[in-house]
């Protein structure tokens, strides 16, 4: 280990690994610190992603692809099912993230980044008002390490940014509180993602069943913290499993949180940039955060390295605009749609599903389904219009 680094990345998830890799590729010194024992574990994620989202960063590899997805199935509260097929060019994957994340970190290492696990960052060091390194605990010893730039990829908790004065805490209504399991003997189509909606299943969120091959599935749900006031995510999961799969053997059980909101107002400050869940870069409509986190990480890593190489550290502050132009602005629109859907009653979901079912299967495209949903739910149109106008 060096005594000082150009860039220190806190957290070795997909966003952190891409920040480390894109910075290291430009030839600056990079250290990535991970608080857990393992990169990629535990997995708090539905693990679905588009092939395009993956291949922007890493070639597809069957070692970490558990299912190839060419179909969505939406299940309304009255149990009517709406299926949507897409062609293989738009294929998606269900990942084995414990291997996928590990491979992403390896690509960062290949680019020259150093990685240290079980290193718990618990503070920042400052030079005047500029972040100039981290405090961390390693093997019970409190240590400090200087860096020109710190990239915070510390996930849903997002404490590192707070220590730098950024407002990172998320409104509890925007937190999707999740519980999930991987279960065996789940007889579903192995190329379809299943989404359930409704107040008894997953109000202000959705319930998912994603295949992982050999009839193993990633099953879980998220509900807004607003719902959690009255009933926990775990209670919804238990009811669903009792009803649909009472005897399924359960291989893993885990909780997690998905910050489902627009990106933070500020994701950089002197000497620091935030990426991934820590920056609230999750797609607020789908809750997907792997691809958007990798994009955020790659942009921040590149800009941070450029700032170091040009000896112009204020260049880091251009990261906010670069992110907003690439995805941030689109997330504002998605968030508006999410808020419209949040208020749907079960009757509205049923009505939409029954209207979409009338579109011949071969003519169903995502655009057509969405248009039908809008016609049957004019108030949603107002929500969508509002976000486009503002």
């Amino acid at each position: 280990m060096k005594r000082e680094y150009d860039i220190i990345v806190v957290g070795a998830g997909p966003a952190g690994s891409m920040a480390a890799r894109f910075a290291a590729e430009l030839g600056v010194s990079v250290l990535m610190l991970e608080k857990d024992r393992d990169v990629g574990y535990p997995v708090r994620c539905g693990e679905a992603i588009s092939k395009a989202g993956v291949e922007e960063f890493i070639d597809s590899d069957e070692r970490w692809i558990r299912a190839h997805i060419t179909k969505f199935c939406f299940i309304a509260p009255d149990e009517s099912e709406v299926s949507l097929q897409f062609d293989t060019k738009q294929e998606g994957y269900v990942l084995e993230r414990r291997i996928f994340d590990y491979e992403l970190a390896r690509t960062a290492a290949d680019a020259g980044a150093e990685i240290l696990t079980r290193a718990y960052v618990n503070g920042l060091i400052f030079d005047d008002d500029k972040v100039s390194g981290v405090k961390y605990v390693y093997q019970s010893e409190q240590k400090e390490l200087k860096a020109k730039i710190v990239i915070a990829a510390d996930g849903v908790e997002s404490r590192v940014g707070r220590w730098a004065g950024l407002k990172t805490h998320i409104d509890f209504r925007d937190m999707e509180c999740c519980t999930q399991i991987t279960a065996a003997n789940i007889q579903i189509d192995q190329n379809t993602l299943y989404f359930y909606f409704g107040k008894d299943v997953s109000p202000q969120g959705y319930f998912w069943i994603f295949p992982k091959g050999n009839n193993v599935a990633n099953i879980g749900l998220g509900v807004s913290g607003m719902i959690g006031k009255k009933r926990s995510a775990q209670s919804f999961l238990n009811s669903f499993m009792d009803k649909h799969y009472p005897n399924a053997p359960i291989l893993t059980t885990i909780a997690g949180g998905v910050p489902s909101a627009v990106t933070l107002d500020k994701i950089s400050a002197p000497g620091i940039a935030l990426v991934g869940d820590a920056a609230r870069q999750v797609n607020p409509l789908s809750g997907g955060g792997i691809a958007s986190g990798m994009i955020g990480g790659s942009i921040a890593g590149r800009i941070a390295a450029e700032a170091v190489k040009r000896n112009r550290l204020d260049h880091l502050l251009t990261y906010d605009k670069a992110w907003n132009d690439r995805l941030g602005k689109r997330h504002v629109i998605f968030n508006g749609i999410k808020e419209g859907i949040f208020n749907f009653s079960d009757e509205k979901f049923n009505k939409i599903a029954n209207a979409v079912i009338k579109i011949p299967y071969e003519k169903r495209t995502l655009g057509k389904v969405f248009t039908t949903a809008l016609i049957n739910q004019p108030s949603l149109l107002v929500d969508v219009a509002k976000v486009f106008i503002v």
Binding site: D36, Y120, V156, E157, F172, G225, S232, S235, G257
Partner: protein, 71 residues
């Protein structure tokens, strides 16, 4: 006072993300509330997916639905 049941916690970080006071410390499998910062706002309780955050009222642990978890 708010308390996290350490044996039941899954260390997922939901509560940390919603805490307005940065009053929760989470390591790999260790979690604690920094009492001096906690204002008992309850947002962590509502956001916990698995109901492991409770009120400690004079040694009696009760959940948000007022049922007693342990004495």
């Amino acid at each position: 006072m708010i308390e996290i049941l350490p044996d039941k916690c899954d260390f997922c970080g939901c509560c940390v993300g919603v805490c307005p006071e940065d009053a929760i410390e989470l390591k790999e499998a260790e979690i604690s509330i920094i009492d001096e910062r906690c204002t008992n706002c309850s947002k962590c309780i509502w956001s916990c997916p698995i109901e492991v955050i409770v009120f400690n009222k004079e040694g009696i642990l009760i959940d948000q639905f007022k049922s007693v978890k342990s004495v």
